[in-house]
Amino acid sequence: MSGLRLTDVRHTYGVAPVLKNVSLDVAPGALVTLVGPSGCGKTTLLRIAAGLEPLQAGSVSIDGVAVSDATTGLHVPPERRNVGLMFQDYALFPHLTVRDNVLFGVPRGATDRRAWLESSMARMGLTPLAANYPHRLSGGEQQRVALLRAIAPGPKVLLLDEPFSGLDVTLRTHVREETLDLLKETGIATLMVTHDPEEAMFMADRILVMNNGAVIQAGSPVDIYFRPASAFVAAFFGPVNRLHGVVRAGRVETLVGTVAAPNFRDGAAVEVLLRPEGLKLTVVPNDAPAPDPRPHLRVAWARSLGRSSLVRLDIPGGRDPAFLQARVFGSFLPEAGTAVTVEVDDTRAFVFAAGAPGN
């Protein structure tokens, strides 16, 4: 197996475990993102892969060659691993110009590599800045220099630590696309760390979700979003409404209708997670001819967010939760007090055993 492989990596700082038996593979040309809340061990994993952090247990191999092995004590120092690492704070060398930063890791004799880097700098709009020092660059420009510097020596594996977190929102989407294009062009095995689920979905071929030092789900962006393995993953990838219920004949009855729960036995207490965009609202006309079989909910408020509208529905009777959130595409702004019925989109409703681990 070429690319990057980590097997059963464990790590503790003092007594606190940071990583618990993490294994992962990144094939050449693939982009894997590691996503999870801050402090879940993502950055430590990158540092272990780069050789900056000594390995305590497990093994690491790059391009099919073992570079760290806790059982034999093997530790190839970072400078001999052929790994590129881009830091969250970019870590540009303040005493070197943009060009010298980019060429820092490239041997003098590598003329064709240098030529490729010059053309990449030109394409990324860095050539006019080549003689400048990093502190005179904008955040986006610094990001480009850091990325180019990391891939400049032609590493087998590229590690990106929150590469876009230093950029403002509007710039971020643009830089993200540009980065993806460059990475696809070079075909390096890339492992990217982020705490932003949308960014992970945009960049990744494959996503690993981490929490408390363990990978809790791995899969394609579509898998993770539409088939989350736990309530934690579902909630991490987007806002959810949490309801409680009991399974009867493969279905859960909720306030807003029934949801399929095929893999639960009868009588199991479950938690139902509904995405706000998976709730379809219909205004009940005042002069409804026949009583609608579905329960009516009242609108607490509705706000326009431009592309979509956010609607809060009151749940009467002091129940938990006290309200539901719905997101409707376009402009849907019923007045407060309006009665609506709710329909649930099954692909955006998830059922988990109540109190399951990882929630």
Partner: protein, 567 residues
């Protein structure tokens, strides 16, 4: 797959533990530096002739009381002058304020023994001041009037205060600068006047910095040898030299040295305690122009006078006298002899500076790589040298070296029948080693502080881009901290130029530096002969002050060159 040609790098697996060559080197170095201190303690504990009871019944009480009074006096004097002038130049506006801001640092450049020689010449019975007084008042003999004796405990306190108050001034000024304006303004809006807000807000906030400054000034006081011997106010430093040379008692000198070491350690503890406390004071990142109390009329005059007096007495007058006498001495005093001594001083100080910087860099970088607690303790011990008076270190360096020489000599005589004599003790290598031990803290401190400019991720970036730890040091760390490395070297160089007690005890036979030469001539009051030499020492001392002024005015918050460079 890609059109990017890749650079193939040779991959050779290697085992690299956490405890590598750098960490080992740092440990060895700190062990070497700590060795003299350990030697002094071991020597003092070794039972020997009954010198201790002899000392106790004769000179010890005198040493102790002189040392305590001197430290207290200099501590109080530097505290008052340093804090008052720092407050005036940072918080008030009066004519000359901006110039005083750096003028007030200048007395630091003058060694205490030089200023002691000069004021003795000015203020003694036959000197110009008393002569003028007698002439003006018509007095004819000593009995006609009272005049304070400069060569006394009080005189020594005055002399040292004049040249040591800048330590307190420097740190207090920095602390006042750092204080949040808002805190002071809150004090004003709560109805406190400028004076009350000074004593209830600004001073307590700056107290840790002031304690550090006073502790440094007292360390210098403890270490002084030239002034106290000339004024015949023997302290422990003078006593060590006396017992060592005149009573030839190694154990006695070591025992005195241990007592002195206890004083020094108390100061170190006070300084460390204050520095630790200081971290909690950085509560705001807001910097605005400090409030300026515009002083008018009489108050401005008073402020001017308060700032002018220390500069006048501590720098302008002494340097004026030195220049005048150097000119009067003319070309005669700049002969071969003088050039030889100057060359000795330059050589010793620059070699020591280079060594101290190299060792400091190794220590700081080794600790950065290793991150092991053991190394951190080692560094603390290694940087104790600055607090340890020169006379103590001299004993700690010389005795083990002499023992080594005797051992080698004995072996060689037994084995080959050749006497090797003194190999290390009494050589320039020994003096250089002493200098490095004493001044390492200066170099290490400056380098360690500036290494914070290199973020840990820059280390990581350099390593993943193919640099070994040594390569990263050469290509990233050293270029980034180059300025601070130079400052560190300069600080050691200047202290080396001034150094007296260690050099006097450890120098090779007939070897003179500018400092020892000035001292020997000064004791015999040959003002014209030593003026040129003293002037060179002072000029060297002014150099780092100028650099310091330039760097601090550039590194004021908000004016730094790179936003991405600070960690």
């Amino acid at each position: 797959m890609s059109d990017a040609p890749s650079v193939t790098r040779r991959r050779a697996p290697a085992v690299l533990g956490r405890f590598d060559g750098w960490a080992a080197g740092a440990l060895v170095v700190s062990g070497l530096v700590a060795a003299p201190l350990i030697a002094v303690i071991v020597l003092a504990l070794t039972p020997s002739d009954d010198i201790w009871s002899h000392l106790l019944s004769t000179v010890l009480p005198l040493y102790a009381s002189n040392t305590v009074f001197l430290m207290t006096g200099v501590g109080a004097g530097t505290l008052i002058i340093g804090t008052a002038t720092a407050w005036l130049v940072t918080m008030c506006r009066f004519p000359g304020r901006r110039v005083f801001e750096w003028l007030l640092l200048l007395p630091m450049a003058i060694p205490a023994y030089v200023i002691a020689f000069l004021y003795t010449d000015l203020l003694e019975y036959a000197g110009p001041v008393q002569s003028a007084l007698r002439h003006a008042a018509g007095w004819t003999t000593r009995r006609d009037y009272w005049f304070p004796d400069i060569r006394s405990l009080g005189g020594a306190i005055a002399m040292m205060t004049l040249v040591l108050y800048p330590y307190v001034y420097l740190l207090a000024r920095a602390a006042f600068h750092e204080q949040s304006v808002c805190v002071l303004e809150v004090g004003r809006t709560l109805g406190r006047g400028p004076w009350r807000s000074f004593f209830t807000i600004a001073l307590p906030l700056a107290r840790p910095a002031i304690v550090v400054g006073v502790a440094l000034a007292m360390m210098e006081t403890l270490s002084d040898y030239g002034t106290v011997t000339f004024f015949e106010v023997p302290t422990f430093s003078a006593g060590i030299y006396d017992v060592w040379r005149n009573m030839s008692s190694v154990a006695g000198a070591a025992q005195l040295a241990v007592v002195l070491l206890v004083f020094a350690l108390i100061l170190v503890a006070a300084e460390r305690w204050a520095r630790r406390d200081r971290r909690f004071h950085h509560t705001t990142t807001k910097y605005r122009a400090l409030p300026s109390y515009r002083l008018g009329g009489g108050r401005a005059g008073l402020a001017f006078l308060i700032c002018a007096l220390p500069v006048l007495l501590g720098f302008v007058l002494p340097v004026g006298v030195l220049i005048e006498h150097s000119l009067r001495a003319g070309a005669d005093s700049f002969g071969w002899e003088y050039l030889g001594f100057a060359a000795n001083s330059l050589l010793l100080s620059s070699v020591s500076a280079a060594c101290a910087v190299a060792v400091g860099l190794l220590l700081a970088y080794g600790i950065r790589l290793g991150r092991s607690p053991l190394l951190k303790y080692a560094a603390r011990i290694a940087s104790l040298g600055y607090a340890v008076p020169g006379a103590v270190l001299a004993v700690g360096v010389l005795v083990p070296l002499a023992a080594f020489d005797n051992m080698v000599d004995g072996w060689m005589r037994q084995l080959v029948g050749v006497s090797t004599g003194l190999l290390l003790s009494g050589t320039l290598a020994a003096v250089t080693f002493g200098y490095v031990v004493r001044f390492l803290a200066l170099a290490y401190g400056a380098i360690d502080a500036s290494l914070a400019k290199v973020t840990p991720s820059m280390d990581g970036a350099a390593r993943t881009l193919g640099q070994t730890p040594g390569g990263a040091l050469a290509r990233v760390h050293v270029p980034i901290i180059r300025g601070s490395v130079l400052v560190a070297a300069m600080l050691v160089f200047v202290d080396g130029m001034k150094e007296l007690p260690m050099t006097l005890i450890m120098r090779p036979f007939n070897f003179e530096t500018l400092a020892t030469w000035v001292y020997v001539l000064g004791v015999t009051e040959r003002l014209q002969d030593y003026s040129p030499g003293a002037l060179v020492i002072v000029a060297a001392g002014v150099l780092p002050i100028i650099v310091m002024i330039r760097t601090t005015s550039r590194s004021r918050p908000g004016q730094g060159p790179g936003q991405g460079m600070t960690s």
